[in-house]
Symmetry: C2
Subunit: 433 residues, 2 copies
């Protein structure tokens, strides 16, 4: 399960860097520790600590759900200028755990901040006293189960002991594996770019494969840069790039209580100062960030539960981007479109249906639809070149691209999803039986 | 496939009349003919004519899709006070058929109106000249295929020859069967009630089982009464009763280009005149109409593709009915909720997820959830009486009721759906392969 993203990314981008897996190495100012806290029955890593010895600027975006997990409540409450640690656990979403879940985080943050302050005394020239509010949390897994406070607290010593000031691809992979729930593949991505004439890095890791864990899973994505970017600018860059990346993917249309994407800047690289979001020196960095986010987002879709095909839905030439977005998601979330693609059936009638139900006024005489480069509908009529065998052949590919041209404006939107297979039902219907 | 609605309806309503199948008999002023026009390869009825010898008042509601079929365009164009015939065909949705599809309807209406006018001359004391615009159409089946004008025209003589002025349960069943596409069961419902002290009938037939035909299927429902109700009042009654019936069901969240619910009044029964929608004499009729619509709507869900369970989602005590509606559909359309129920898994975490993603502010401390009469969540906490075995046992039933109490207002909404099974994928992914 989970399709081969390498083929997809290589064929789409012709970019060597996008190969599975990119080798993430060192980002100055960041340390990663991963341990097994026995949150699962099998002996796997399930607790990952990201530690910033000099603190990091940061910004986060969270789930739009009206029911949010206790760790997101915790994170929203903290308003310290810098964070010193992000602690991520798998297996338990810390959602619907009430006061117990929140208090557990308080106690863990207390203990961890104390141990990290002691570590500072040993390792740093000017040791800092780290406060509980300078720690944030990522949680993912089952909801409604007591949060395993003791098991996590018991591992804090171990996490702190494992702090190393040089990172390599092994520790990144260990961290990505430690965050996984029903994911079948760890998810990492990287870009290097310049600010002014100075090279900086943007590294990211993520987990997520649909809303599919016993009670639910989540998307968590953490992006790290050694550039020096203010909290305010991190927030703006993150928000700006979400709509075309993590907000452009859908596995099953369901939304988790725990979704969290965070962006950390260690500021270890000295480069020309960025004044604001309109500063031209940020353009390359902005593009690189988009690539990292999009790469991770695509990996989440490609690892979607039961996925046998990766689907790209391009909607072109709408009056507004919002219209294009609504049509794209109406197609990408339609069970009838997704099952047809699973069955390798070039069933354009269902695409028409899904375009229509999006609720955006359409001039049928201007509508065009392509599968890949094959024209199906042109100006509201079946193309004279339509060749069912050719299209059927295309449907056998692993990467399916649907291009819908509305021809009533100039705004576009692209979203990504996977097909809907029996395997999805099997995984989700049979999980606890 | 398709679950046994008898058990459901009997258990829910304790109403003998709701048994499968109710025996619909005669409605004065209506004649039904059904023939095989060879629209399918197998020799089945696929063309059904409803004929009103003295015309009928009528009102219709149509799909909200922005792409609509040619027959709906035709129907919307006609504004005659009475209709004399409704002609329904299966196999071809007459959608994305362009000018050919619309012109075909023109020609069929011309021919049918002429033959019916001839019939009037033979049978009626004061024969009427029926006009093409006094005929409306229902179409259901594949989209994007040439509309079979000739095949249908060839059968007009036959349809007119078969006109009988007395109807019985056999012709109703034949009509319901003739409208079916991937339905596995014909769908009929009836109620009798009084206006003033006069008995009147409300009969209905429908087709639909998800959006599932080769390219798509549709819901068609036609309601007939012998009461004398104005067009304006028919429209108001229909609109008023849609939200709790046909707009309260979902199979897969997809919407067809052809959905159509029409209400016809032959006016053959003399009863005290109904002045307007607030007239107290209409209350019983209004309730009976709701029962017929709800009965048919439930039959559509119960016959949903691959359905193994019938699911009722009750959302109670919201601030507005719209809020309750959004939460109910968020749960009913969630693939994760639907697969969990297919797997007989009391996975209340997914219900929480679906409630949260509806976007309505929720006070978690007030939230309660029941499966049937079993309390799962009470005031935001797992109930102290929660017994996993008991709940698992409940999940084995064929009719699952989810009750969600938001406790922040007084408005409710109930919707109906079915579970999501491997069979659904099989039917929809493998159809043309």
């Amino acid at each position: 399960m989970g399709i081969n993203l390498t083929n997809f990314l290589i064929s789409k981008t012709k970019n060597k860097k996008m190969n599975d897996f990119q080798d993430l190495d060192h980002i100055d100012g960041l340390s990663i520790s991963a341990v097994c806290a026995n949150l699962y029955k099998d002996n796997r890593d399930d607790l990952v600590m990201f530690y910033f010895r000099d603190g990091a600027n940061y910004a986060s975006v969270y789930t739009q759900s009206k029911i949010i997990s206790e760790n997101i409540k915790w994170n929203l409450k903290q308003n310290s200028k810098k964070v010193f640690s992000l602690l991520v656990n798998a297996r338990n979403a810390n959602c619907f755990t009430g006061k117990q879940g929140f208090k557990s985080l308080e106690k863990i943050a207390e203990s961890l901040s104390q141990k990290l302050s002691e570590k500072q005394k040993v390792d740093e020239e000017s040791p800092k006293k780290i406060k509980p509010k300078e720690i944030i949390f990522g949680c993912t897994g089952t909801i409604g189960e007591t949060f395993p406070e003791e098991k996590i607290k018991d591992k804090i010593d171990d996490l702190v002991k494992k702090i190393s000031y040089t990172q390599n691809k092994y520790i990144w992979t260990k961290a990505a594996l430690g965050m996984m729930t029903t994911d079948t593949q760890p998810k990492m991505a990287m870009e290097e770019c310049e600010i002014g004439n100075t090279k900086v890095k943007i590294y990211g890791i993520a987990k997520g494969s649909g809303m599919i864990q016993p009670n639910m899973a989540t998307t968590l994505a953490y992006i790290f840069t050694d550039a020096d970017i203010s909290n305010n600018l991190l927030k703006k860059l993150l928000k700006k790039n979400m709509s075309s990346t993590f907000n452009a993917i859908t596995c099953d249309g369901d939304t988790s209580t725990n979704d969290m994407v965070s962006f950390f800047s260690t500021g270890k690289i000295r480069h020309s100062k960025i004044e604001n979001i309109n500063d031209k020196k940020i353009v390359e960095f902005d593009n690189a960030l988009n690539k990292v986010l999009l790469n991770l987002a695509k990996r989440v879709v490609a690892d979607g539960e039961g996925a046998s095909k990766f689907i790209t839905v391009n909607v072109h030439n709408c009056k507004t981007e919002k219209d294009a977005n609504r049509i794209a998601f109406s197609v990408a979330n339609s069970p009838l479109v997704k099952t047809a693609i699973a069955g390798e059936d070039p069933n354009w009638g269902r695409i028409i249906m899904a375009v229509g139900k999006a609720g955006i006024p359409i001039d049928l005489d201007k509508l065009s639809i392509k599968f890949g480069d094959l024209i199906i509908i042109q100006n509201g009529k079946i193309s004279t070149n339509y060749n069912e065998d050719e299209v059927k052949n295309y449907m056998r590919e692993e990467n399916i691209e649907i291009k819908i041209d509305i021809s009533c404006g100039s705004k576009n939107f692209t979203c990504y999803t996977m097909d809907l297979t029996k395997k999805y039902i099997e995984i989700n219907a049979d999980y606890r039986s």
